[in-house]
Symmetry: C2
Subunit: 763 residues, 2 copies
Amino acid sequence: MNNSTGSYVLEKTGFEKDNEELLINETLFHNANGYQGVRGNFEEGYPEGYDTIRGQYINGFYNSYKISTEEWHIGFIQEKHSMVNVFDTQSVKIWIEGEELDLFTGNVTEYRRTLDMKKGITSRSFVWESPAGRKVSVRIERMASFEMLPLFLIRYRICPLNFSGTVKMESVQSGDVYNYFNQKDSRVAGEKRIHMRVKDVEADGTTGILVSETVRSGLEAACAVSHVFSGPVSQTLVCDEKSITDRIEFGAEEGKWSCAEKYSILCDSLRYADVKEEALRLLDLAVEKGSGYWYGKQEEFLEKFWEGCAIEISGDEELNLSLHFSQYGLLQSAGLDGVSNIGAKGLSGEGYEGHYFWDTEMYMLPFFSLTQPEVARKLLGYRYHILDQARENAVKMGHPKGALFPWRTINGKECSYYYPSGGAQYHIIGDITYGIIQYYLITGDWDYIVEQGAEIVMETARIWYDLGNFYKGKFHIHDVTGPDEYTCVVNNNYYTNLTAKHNLIWAAKLYEKLKEKGQLEKLQDKIGITESEITGFKTAAEAMYLPYDEELDINPQDDSFLSKKVWDMASIPEGAGPLMQRNFLYHIYRYQVCKQADTVLAHFLFEDEQELSTIRNSFEYYEKITTHDSSLSRCIFSIIAAKLGEKEKAYQYFDFSSKTDINNSQKNTKDGIHTANMGGTYMAVVYGFLGLRVKEGGFFFRPILPDEWNGIRLDLCLRGSRIEINADRDQCRFSLKKGDPVEIHVYDEVYELSDEITVEMRG
Amino acid sequence: MNNSTGSYVLEKTGFEKDNEELLINETLFHNANGYQGVRGNFEEGYPEGYDTIRGQYINGFYNSYKISTEEWHIGFIQEKHSMVNVFDTQSVKIWIEGEELDLFTGNVTEYRRTLDMKKGITSRSFVWESPAGRKVSVRIERMASFEMLPLFLIRYRICPLNFSGTVKMESVQSGDVYNYFNQKDSRVAGEKRIHMRVKDVEADGTTGILVSETVRSGLEAACAVSHVFSGPVSQTLVCDEKSITDRIEFGAEEGKWSCAEKYSILCDSLRYADVKEEALRLLDLAVEKGSGYWYGKQEEFLEKFWEGCAIEISGDEELNLSLHFSQYGLLQSAGLDGVSNIGAKGLSGEGYEGHYFWDTEMYMLPFFSLTQPEVARKLLGYRYHILDQARENAVKMGHPKGALFPWRTINGKECSYYYPSGGAQYHIIGDITYGIIQYYLITGDWDYIVEQGAEIVMETARIWYDLGNFYKGKFHIHDVTGPDEYTCVVNNNYYTNLTAKHNLIWAAKLYEKLKEKGQLEKLQDKIGITESEITGFKTAAEAMYLPYDEELDINPQDDSFLSKKVWDMASIPEGAGPLMQRNFLYHIYRYQVCKQADTVLAHFLFEDEQELSTIRNSFEYYEKITTHDSSLSRCIFSIIAAKLGEKEKAYQYFDFSSKTDINNSQKNTKDGIHTANMGGTYMAVVYGFLGLRVKEGGFFFRPILPDEWNGIRLDLCLRGSRIEINADRDQCRFSLKKGDPVEIHVYDEVYELSDEITVEMRG
């Protein structure tokens, strides 16, 4: 049951004996801080036979493994990387007077799980009556610290209600861990693989330390664990080959709370030179400061976070909760150290093996660019970090120069094995460029362009120019896949060609601007970009072929899309799950049926590329044949519906989208949160209901308010200035809260926002 | 060195120390009879470090193995089959007075290997001088019997030239065998796999028997071995876990030949109920009859074979040899028992894992249909045997009814893992239908149509009808791959659409003919074919979209072919090997470059579908961009060149094609002979130089003679009658040798051939 209190606390009550719900809650109540993530597993585990994805991950920390070379051809990948379940430091078992605490026996009452997004902690509390009739009240709080990223803290409190007696605790830290696998679901790994090997187990006094290494990728991680108790205990540490068990015993008194705090520190060799030493040092520091300190820091951090980004919708508390859950999900997932990024499931599960996709730039970056540009800058830094691998990938794929970013990756190497809906998605380079340019237009951060951005934009433009070719005066792009993965490897995908055009145009623009400012030389020395290449970029961009069907006044998704059969949408059974899980992919490819927004997404990103009538017709055309089997779809449909003034539709798409994980709408929240959809939810608010577009010409708003709401309020950070937007049924108020005046356009009128302006709502 | 004598004996002299040549000769001098095949390995082996593909195979006998489930999606195959290296019964080691016979030590003279295609044996003979100076003359003959298919016979003769002494022989039969693998070549298996497990080892007197089973596919095979000697020997059989060694010792006298005959019998559970018992029974029979009997039967069999099919070109003995080698290669490869067929490499090697492709119907069947229709009938029987699996495959691929034959298979299940140049080649069903209809038109065998053919043609027509769709009045077929594997998964591949059209038309034709004759009921009961389906077939066939470019007056290979970049053919280094081994496949797909004949093949098969000018323009267009990286290509270019009167070109393509294996032109003869090319060589003679086309209207000849030849003579079997064709520079004579008169067309004139006609040559 989901009966949360307040829009910053997700709460579920009623003990979730159901395995499916347990798995979902493991995801929803995970703790993460962009560096590490721990799924919300029960400390004491589940009964045998229950399925669980018991995991603890470090962002960007991966093992590699060889994959099948069946019918191998040159350029096919031979190795993949997988985010690793690195340790298990969350295990705590309890015996009360010899009876093992097990919620699946005895009686459970007052059961409650919460995620408090202002405090940054999750909790699980309950009263348990043992089979023998002993009653205890238990409250367990967990936190992944934003202040000290390697710190994961469990506060375990127990209070006997009808007896006094002995409590035994076994708190384990283990290196004997595996990644979850499921042969039947392409969204998680297909086979059991051993990724980690324990190489050092040591108990030093009351501190346990484990060091493990990845089997193949040459990485190392250490976890150091120590406990702090509220009263006297007896304690013994027992090591075996792969784990350390801390056996604790203490007396518990009826009506009195006893508390055990389990500090665990995770350090990996991507960030720390000596993982063991560093883990021990940080553990000492963490314990020394004490949990109160870390709780305080956590709240401080989050106060600042919410201040900058919180959305408040008046008239829909439930929606506010799901919006905040989305924003918090993004925050928990974002790796900001240059070697990591945001996985498709963040750090909440193993879906898509922890890989980074286009999701970052197209769905998640806008939230950060518009609220915390410094975080956006760090996310973009990751792409620069892997630029050399993108150059290698380009050559492998047949391009003599340029950079072709991998479709899915952890460390920069391509990890997509199935090319048609993997590496063939060349649009990722256009997406990255789009993200860079949007970041630049939002923030005005020219230094970033000079240092990193321009190099990426030019290297990716080179790929487009080499990939496509002129035919009968038009520039064509063959055999690529657009965002819609139900139509793969096509010619002249409308979306792709537009991102390519944008990429080519901006490469030329940045070149000219750098030249103008005398800042070109360094880049020229590095990548040897020439005037004639720039001329080529411009010619190709101008000649870019963009499919258009006059009869229907729509943009066909690609050259042959309209000549295919239309999938019988009525034949899809309710709740049957994605088409791709029930049909051979190439069978799907032969139909007009879309997994997600593709042309409709292009209409949002490049709204000036076609007439409004075309956008409307396209929207209506594709709406009929889109299954939204991807969680990246509905938010985009919501944005375009809003643009077209279809408020009710916009609201419905948005409402569904924003609650994707909380409602488990995609039926796979157990594998992790849908981070792109979380970003998309934010986009639907800002680009949809507020109607924001960020163009070279400035910031353009066209606010509308769904009938279901009374008002909406949020902050944006534009060109370094913080502005607050406050809309109700009648008016929309823009106020400058900090920084220099900003020029904005509202309903096509231009305003200099130096204090506050109020505009009448037109929708 | 290749200095063969006569056009029926392939001979190579000079000891081939070179490893590459050894591997090639293993293929060229293999022994096979359609049931089993043994590569021409040295009985005594090679020195350590030498690469060898030591193999002995049974046609259609396979093991299955699970393949990677990396990013698995529904419908992707999870199991493959591989023709198995089943036993090694060819090993014989010799010690002469304690010195091991090893051609890589000492001195070798008078070295000679032969394949005698009239006798049906291979031989290796040499004089070896040991390091200690002992000289022996050795002659080894090997035969896979056409009379008793399980029999493989080695006759080992040795004669001391400068001493008398003791010869020790170790003749081994072993179940400790593996298939060859090479991770870097997609044309052979990628990984070492254990396919066979020995389950029974027994020595009974002087007979050794091994029984092995496949690890996963549930098949069994036995080999029984016994020896016959020309004089007294001492003999001990020693068994270990996986093999039996026959230790033989005898005295050899200077100047006198000693002879040991090794009889080995291979029986498998696909054909024999009790493999062990049957192998022992056949072994007894074989030994009892004696080698002379089997040699005699072999010659008898081949006399009949050559009588029916031999081609004699006057003026080019070298070419005659390669033609006969091709015909013999086809004979050796053809499985005629319904459970087997012709592998892409026959039984001569492990390339393509022993799988059957479209090669059979499109390249090899014509030879048999035109010379030994009873063999053609048996080959077609295999497709009927796997029809139920083809039905299952259809459903898996999204078609509610019909039969979709697998692209590559052994037992009827799809074994192609890489779909774009595998399962996407829907044309295979059109090819099978084409083969059936050609067989029917050549032989007039209506019974076959009633019993099997019509069912296949209608079930495959159903696939086309479901696969394609009407769009703006035309019938389109999306996302399939034509024969050219350098352009995959395209729309409206010209070749595919024409085979589909032919398939649909003939389904309707056969339906109507069956109905007319009152023979429809049984089929209707079985597959429920309806009038309205037939109407649909006809409508689709009539409306079939066939890409045509007016400007160039050619048929584009597919909808988007002409809009792609043209590959820079001049940039391909001489002898660099196939493009696909140096470039990422999807990179190749984005170019106009062809691995093999595609549209040009369509122009041959369906010559009435376009104007001659279009055929000429297409030929010239595609010729410029075809690499002929497939061995199936040049023979077709030869046929069309001949049609266009380009005699010199026709001859050059033909000459190259016919010598593919003898010259190792494709650089992979080591993996086995190119059976399709062997059939293509025959096609180039009959369809190319004789200009034969078999149409509903009859047999149409347009003979031409290359300037390099003085004449050509061959027999054909048309409608059950045997006719001889004899062309020289001036005239072409057609004679009826056996059977009823046949109507033929020569240069568009119609003749009733009841005795002999002579027509003046026009080319």
